[in-house]
Amino acid sequence: MPNTDHDSETLVQTEGKVGAVMVLGAGVSGIQAALDVAYSGFRVYLVDKGPAIGGKMSQLDKTFPTNDCSMCILSPKFIECSTNPNISIITSAKIDGIEGEAGDFTVTLLQRPRYVDEEKCTGCGTCAEYCPVNILDTYNEALAKLKCIHIPFPQAVPAISVIDPTQCLFALRKICQICVPTCKNKAIDFHQRERKLDIHVGSIIVAPGYEPFDPQRQSQYGYRRLRNVVTSLEFERILSASGPYQGELVRPSDGKPPQKIAWIQCVGSRDTTVDNTYCSAVCCMYATKQVILSKEHDPNLEAVILHNDIRAYGKGFERYYERAKKMPGVRYIWSKASIVKERPDSRNVVLRYRINGTEVKEEEFDLVVLSVGLNSNEGNRELAEKLSIKTNDHGFCESPKFSPIETSRRGIFSCGVFHAPMDIPDSVTMASGAASLASQLLCEQRGTLVEEKVYPEERDVRGEPPRVGVFVCDCGTNVARVVGVPKVVEHARGLNGVVHAVEETFACSVDAIAHMVETIKEKSLNRVVVAACTPRTHEPVFQDVLRKAALNPYLLEFANIREHCSLVHMGEKKEATEKAKDLVRMSVTKALLLEPLYRVSYNVTRAALIIGGGIAGMVSSLVLARQGIKVYLIEKAKELGGLARKISKTLEGEDIQDFLNDLIREVNENPLIQVHTETEVVNFSGYVGNFSSKVKIGKEGIIKDIEHGVTIVATGAEESKPKEYLYGEDARVMTLLDLDEVIEKDVDRFKDCNTMVFIQCVGSRNEEHPYCSRVCCSHSIKNALKLKEIKPEVDIYILYRDMRTYGFREDYYKKAADQGVIFIRYDVDDKPDIQTVEESGKSLLRVTVTEPILGQRLMIDADMICLAAATVPPAKNRSLSQMLKVPLNEDDFFLEAHMKLRPVDFATDGIFMCGTAHSPKFIDESVAQAQAAASKAFTLLIRTAIEGEASVAEVNELFCSGCRVCELTCPYGAISLEADRGVAVVNKALCKGCGTCVGACPSGAILGKYFSTEQILAEITAALAA
């Protein structure tokens, strides 16, 4: 960041389109968008209104449905952003104005003063220890306190202190300033003022996220009045190991573990009284996650979830919900609840709810969690206004049909919850998609504003005797207060190979770094040990120092004497000093054995093979081809279009066929896209950047060889053929797609139809397909509304288990109900029954179903029945997965590398997926996913070479017995046996350097670079040598 001397300045000026992108909002979607844009060759300004990046995801404990620790998966992305030279993080800033047009915007930002110099602050945290003012810790949802000068949360990026001027004694009353002299780096600066920044960018990605609904708007929940009523986000902090109670599940009133917790769903969602008619799309699942996690904390805990429809519609959600439901002591109760009172003695909360339709029950709980909805707030509205982009009635970003990422203004894209309530994988998907749209727009400016660091030519140190330099950081007082740093330096000096050892105050400060570079050169050091904080955040900083000093970056070794020593042994100075000495000795000993390492680079074939010519496959083809990539698009059917050929309109009334025909035309006209229909992959080999495939084309079966750098799987899904409810026996029983066709081509058939019955979940959420097909509830509503339009007097019944019209689709559910469509809930153990009956010379389809409120059997004589049949994966997924060596999930959909943060990637580099090959989804979701997959593919294809990891495995062929243990152990398929020579060979392009094969090799034939057996043994020996 530039210095704070000026109040206004202009960053970057160029003519015409600008090769830079601004991302507004640095939650998980903003972060992902920033990374993808930067990897696509553009400069990025990542802007957040808060003092650190991370957004709401950083506050979550775990994520559904895998229970992955949220911070574990998110914080590596913080570091990726902060170390990327082409991403500038601008915090505490909001937009003031925008001028210009797509390709060339000037955005004016207002940045609040931090009162701490970002250049000088090292994040040591000493100031906070002296600050006398305690304020509410917003990261912990005000359940804890922190100091007025503070680092927002332990993993915060930037890890820089910030002062809250609304509570600072100096800012308010010109007294105190205690913090100022405690900072050894003189970083605290009360002279800072708000400043204006004018930034030129070609495109803007808007990702400001959401605000949780404030339950104080509805007095019936007693929120803030009753101590043991908390919001779901507060409960996340309570559950979190880094939360206000250190991960102890206790309640706020008395710090005691609750025995009985109730969750109230739909607080501020699907509620006309607060004007939030939409469904917040994530609450059912996060509540289910919280139930599962709470049960992990205390297996005897009783959990009651008071809910409306349970919307477990995403990949893996239904199984997760079933798992929670089956846990002992967990009750899901379909009921709206209200809070009656608080018991004055115990402060327990009494809830009242209705069961079985009529019976009212009161029940007491130790703790009540309000599952609050996701709202777009005033700030988002203001932001949209400033940017002149349209929002919908709910205050979320409006987008053109079939292009969810675009906004109403060209050059501005949106992603994440600002578009609509959605979960993390959908946000991340949209973020990558947004990056690809920005990248397309600015295609010709790619690479114009990015900087690559230039380093001096590396000095060859092989053969030199080790000359180790040890730099011991005292981190202001963070280390020095506990660890006797001079003693550690003295100890280091006496170690074998050490020629230089010195104490540094803030080794990571700009001055110290410059000095270190000089010292390395001056003293001809060829190994460097930094004894400071954690290598997880600071290794890149010091690797950079080595490169500046003409050394290979892998000649660096860290000793963590801060997080692992001084901060955790504060009362034991002597022991801590001894430990610090040991840690330094371990690192020096390992450093003696360090060798320069190099990343192996590979050429990239700038072409993509896309398997599947439905909407997803075509959209990703176009994204790539528009940016100059050669695409081979293969489709097994005679024509492009996939399943979408059978659907005429979306729920929102948009014409799918128009969209599809435009897409097909553009694909066919694009000279870079080679389409092969009636074509299948018959052979597949190679690795990222260098795949070779054989495809079999047409009836003649012509074999064609294709060389490609990436592969995208977009093989789609199908509607299943029901095996029940007289389907196939009686022509009046049809599936949703059959009905679509009738609506489109044969409206006359409704002439004699007076009663129509839809049956939901036919073939979904059962033993055969224990997943939800996601789209059928909305599909049925769409067709019901259409029928009502064609013939308003028709009686329509929808028999359902849970109506899963998540997000804004809820409005159509309500519309259908308002138009008289009758919804009857049925239980999976008491499914509807259909009989053909003859009455007064007319053949009728008699549907019998139990009405849940009255508990009585209801008979409906229907003229037509529509079955919401399951969406199923094509049978050929199996053979394709084996050929590509990529996994399927238990339902035979393709399985991504990580359910939350890598939703379109396979674990194998260079292979991606999109559309319904991943799981059932809507067209707009498929489009976003296709754009995301193309974005990921593109970031690989634009590289001149792909670099592998440096610390990879290497086989010593002399010792290799060819036993193949390593081959079986490697999760990346990076090792294979070379058949003729009988030895294992590592593909360095695929190796991630985990070292699992090294540990597994019975002959010790594999060398794990940077973590070699010799190096690890040296560390062990040194650790115990005191």
């Binding site: 404990d61 895998t66 229970n67 992955d68 620790c69 949220s70 911070m71 574990c72 914080s75 590596p76 332990p154 993993q155 979190s240 190991a241 880094s242 250190q246 991960g247 954690t534 997880r536 963590n560 801060r562 997080e563 692992h564 020593c565 901060l567 955790v568 042994h569 504060m570 009362g571 034991e572 022991e575 801590a576 001894e578 430990k579 040991d582 840690l583 371990m586 674990a907 610390s951 152990t969 999760p971 990346y972 991630k992 350097g993 985990c994 070292g995 699992t996 090294v998 540990g999 597994a1000 794990g1008 973590f1011 057996t1013 690890i1016 043994l1017 560390e1019 062990i1020 020996t1021 650790a1023 115990l1024």
Partner: protein, 137 residues
């Protein structure tokens, strides 16, 4: 008499348990100063030999901490560790070495307190067992 202070070698994976130990630090959670950590990329890198060597070189106990099952950064490295440790423990008991001297456990990046607890527990366990002495084969 001075209290026996065990020496414990800890193997940490870069992604979860090392980050958990870092969080213990930034959260200032205090724990016993007896452990010396060696960072690896994955707990799957830990060879049984390292553990035997640590004991041989003077460690009284060895901790191997990885990502929780299913959360391995390298997909399944920690499952390999589980298998190896089970086998190693069998070998240890055949050599008459208390199996409590070697402990495999899981610490996520958000479990600073858990990391501290495990180190404290291990320190106490080994303190009760007393120093490790190699018996003649």
């Amino acid at each position: 008499m001075t209290r026996f202070e065990p020496k414990i070698v800890v193997f940490l994976c870069n992604w979860c348990s090392y980050a958990g130990a870092d969080l213990a630090g930034t959260s200032r959670i205090q724990y016993a100063p007896n452990a010396r950590a060696i960072r690896l990329m994955c707990s799957g890198r830990v060879e049984p030999y390292f553990i035997l060597e640590a004991l041989h070189k003077g460690a009284d106990g060895v901790l191997v901490l990885g990502c929780h099952p299913g959360e391995c950064h390298y997909l399944e490295g920690n499952y390999r560790t589980v298998g190896r440790m089970a086998l190693l423990k069998k070998v240890l008991s055949q050599f008459g070495i208390e199996k409590e001297r070697v402990r495999l456990d899981w610490v996520s990046a958000s479990e600073g307190a858990r990391f501290a607890t495990i180190v404290n527990e291990m320190t106490e366990t080994i303190r009760t067992l007393g120093p490790f002495e190699e018996k003649d084969a």
